[in-house]
């Protein structure tokens, strides 16, 4: 659906994008992850034909971004980063205005605006000016305008920034609900967001893509091993000795606590699951197993690892 090849963009001497290539399949939700100033917004602006790239090629739904911007714009719904809306317009008026510009047929404008307002839970705000709405509702108006005329591709630049936790959950739900028929690219620098909403992640830093995979694969690839947290009531030196005897366990380290209840981190080799053997050993020795849970490397850790490796 979207294909980007070797995109570069320079602002004067500063090179914001240094050769970015990726593609997005139809119906996929792609997370665009990176620290501030990594080039996320620049990439999105090029895809939405706001400005062209310095070099490289990008196509959306088969149309070239540089040669046929008009066609590309028809396919795209875009929500810029700080949600720039006309604050002096009533919500339905604003949406009708956008619907018209996006080419919704005159007769269908009213109906479509009503449907979208319902979808984005805005109906009870229809008597208000956009400027009177709270940040969360403005965000919804922003998403609503992106959804008008049913675009095949949605490009959302930091859609949950500045919202309260409840609103974030709602917006994420809204975005997840949009997938399937539509292709979505969303950028963020909040990591859990990506693991919660996206099927694929592209990590970008200083204008270059440094990783591209599913959130799960990224985690396991970088981690390289399985890590478990075990909380046991028993003599610690014996516990460590016994657990090290289990096949596949590479390393055990005590995290906290002395004799009695303490926590241990167990690293096992890649592909080996020792979650059955550990309780068996502990129970057979008569110690108390209080907790056993996998320790996943969070996307934060991966991110820091990738970015600092650069």
């Amino acid at each position: 659906m979207i294909k980007v090849e070797n995109l570069t963009k320079s602002y004067g001497n500063f090179q914001a994008l240094k050769g970015v290539s990726f593609s997005v399949q139809k119906g996929e939700i792609l997370g665009f992850l990176g620290p501030n100033g990594a080039g996320k917004t620049t990439t999105m602006r090029i895809l939405t034909c706001f400005f062209p790239a310095t070099s490289g090629k990008a196509t959306v739904a088969g149309f070239d971004v540089f040669a046929e911007p008009h066609e590309v714009r028809k396919k795209i719904g875009y929500l810029p980063e700080n949600v720039p809306l006309y604050l002096d317009m009533p919500v339905p008026d604003y949406l009708s205005f956008v619907a018209g510009l996006k080419g919704v047929k005159r007769r269908e404008v009213k109906k479509q605006v009503e449907t979208i307002m319902e979808e984005c839970v805005l109906t009870h705000m229809s008597h208000k000016l956009v400027g009177e709405l709270s940040k969360g509702y403005r965000q919804r108006v922003g998403i609503a305008q992106a959804l008008l005329n049913d675009p095949e591709v949605l490009i959302l630049d930091e859609p949950t920034i500045g919202l309260d936790p409840k609103q974030i959950i709602e917006i994420r739900k809204l975005i997840k609900g949009l997938a399937g028929r539509r292709t979505v690219i969303l950028s963020t620098h909040i990591l859990p967001e990506v693991s919660m909403t996206c099927q694929r992640v592209i990590i970008i830093n200083e204008g270059r893509i440094i990783a591209s995979d599913t959130p799960q694969n990224l985690t396991s690839k970088i981690q390289g091993e399985n890590r478990l947290l075990v909380k046991v009531d028993g003599p610690s030196s014996e516990i460590i000795k016994n657990l090290e005897g289990i096949k596949g366990v590479r390393k055990i380290s005590r995290k906290e606590g002395g004799n009695g209840i303490s926590q241990y981190v167990v690293d096992s080799e890649k592909g080996v699951d020792v979650r059955r053997e550990i309780p068996a050993v502990i129970v057979s020795k008569g110690w108390g197993l209080l907790e056993l849970k996998p320790l996943e490397m969070s996307l934060e850790d991966i991110f820091v690892k990738l970015v600092t490796k650069e």
């Binding site: 034909c49 008009h70 714009r73 810029p80 809306l85 006309y86 205005f97 005159r106």
Partner: protein
């Protein structure tokens, strides 16, 4: 076409939901009314004096209401327009640039030209409203005297053409900055220079003088106020307007190659 209409409608809405249009129109009318009152009052004083002094009455054009009230009134109105029009145009692009709405607007499937024309039409509509409200002045003259209708009509035609030229310049200056004050100052400054140019003709050589006079804004409004429709004047304003519309289009396109 529909996009132009939608943008024009939206811009008109924001002119009237904000106090901008009301304030500009009201102040314009108050100042116009004040000038008109002075012109008309001095005309009636003159008439009284002339009734006692036949020599005065013989002076050419002194007691012609068209020449002593209507014509100077148009001159005064054009100067008030010079002051007020930049205030109408300054927000058109600057505000969108500042608030970032231009980013969203330009990613809709519409052309740059449609945006410019939409905004131009909206601003011109406010201007026409402003101008047509001032028609009460000539109507009052008609009630109390017998002015010629010809110069009134051509005078308004001239003001309209000149106003459109002011608007396109204002749109241009608004498109090059995101600061409304800068936009207004620039357009006022340029307009004022184009206006004042006419005054330097007196000490210039005949050729240069004629060139300067043809560029100057002042040289092209006088004919209309006299009741003369000169195609040169019409073409001057049309070229002035289209030049700045064209430059605005270039400015909008420049984001494509500017780093």
């Amino acid at each position: 076409m529909r996009n132009c209409y939608l943008i024009a409608k939206k811009e008109l809405q924001s002119y009237f939901t904000s106090p901008v249009a009301y304030v500009v129109i009201t102040i314009f009318l108050i100042i116009t009314g004040y000038f008109f009152y002075n012109l008309f009052a001095s005309f009636s004083t003159l008439s009284f004096q002339a009734s006692a002094n036949p020599a005065l009455a013989k002076q050419r054009n002194l007691l012609n209401v068209t020449e002593t009230v209507i014509r100077p009134l148009f001159g005064n109105m054009s100067i008030i327009m010079l002051l007020m029009m930049p205030l109408l145009t300054m927000r058109l692009f600057s505000e969108e640039k500042k608030s970032g709405t231009i980013e969203l607007l330009l990613t809709y499937p519409i052309s740059d030209m449609e945006v410019i024309i939409g905004k131009f039409v909206a601003c011109t509509t406010v201007f026409i409203l402003m101008l047509s409200a001032s028609i009460t002045c000539p109507i009052l003259v008609m009630v109390f005297g017998e002015p010629e209708t010809g110069p009134i009509i051509t005078g308004y035609l001239g003001l309209f053409l000149m106003g459109s030229a002011f608007i396109s310049l204002g749109i241009f200056t608004s498109s090059i900055t995101e600061n409304q004050i800068v936009a207004a100052t620039l357009s006022f400054g340029v307009l004022f220079l184009f206006w004042m140019m006419g005054y330097s003709v007196s000490f210039m050589g005949p050729t240069l003088g004629r060139i300067i006079m043809s560029i100057s804004l002042i040289g092209h409004i006088e004919g209309f106020a006299k009741g003369v429709i000169d195609t040169t004047d019409i073409i001057y304003y049309l070229i002035f307007s289209s030049l700045f519309i064209f430059l605005t289009l270039r400015v909008m396109e420049s984001k494509k190659w500017r780093g």
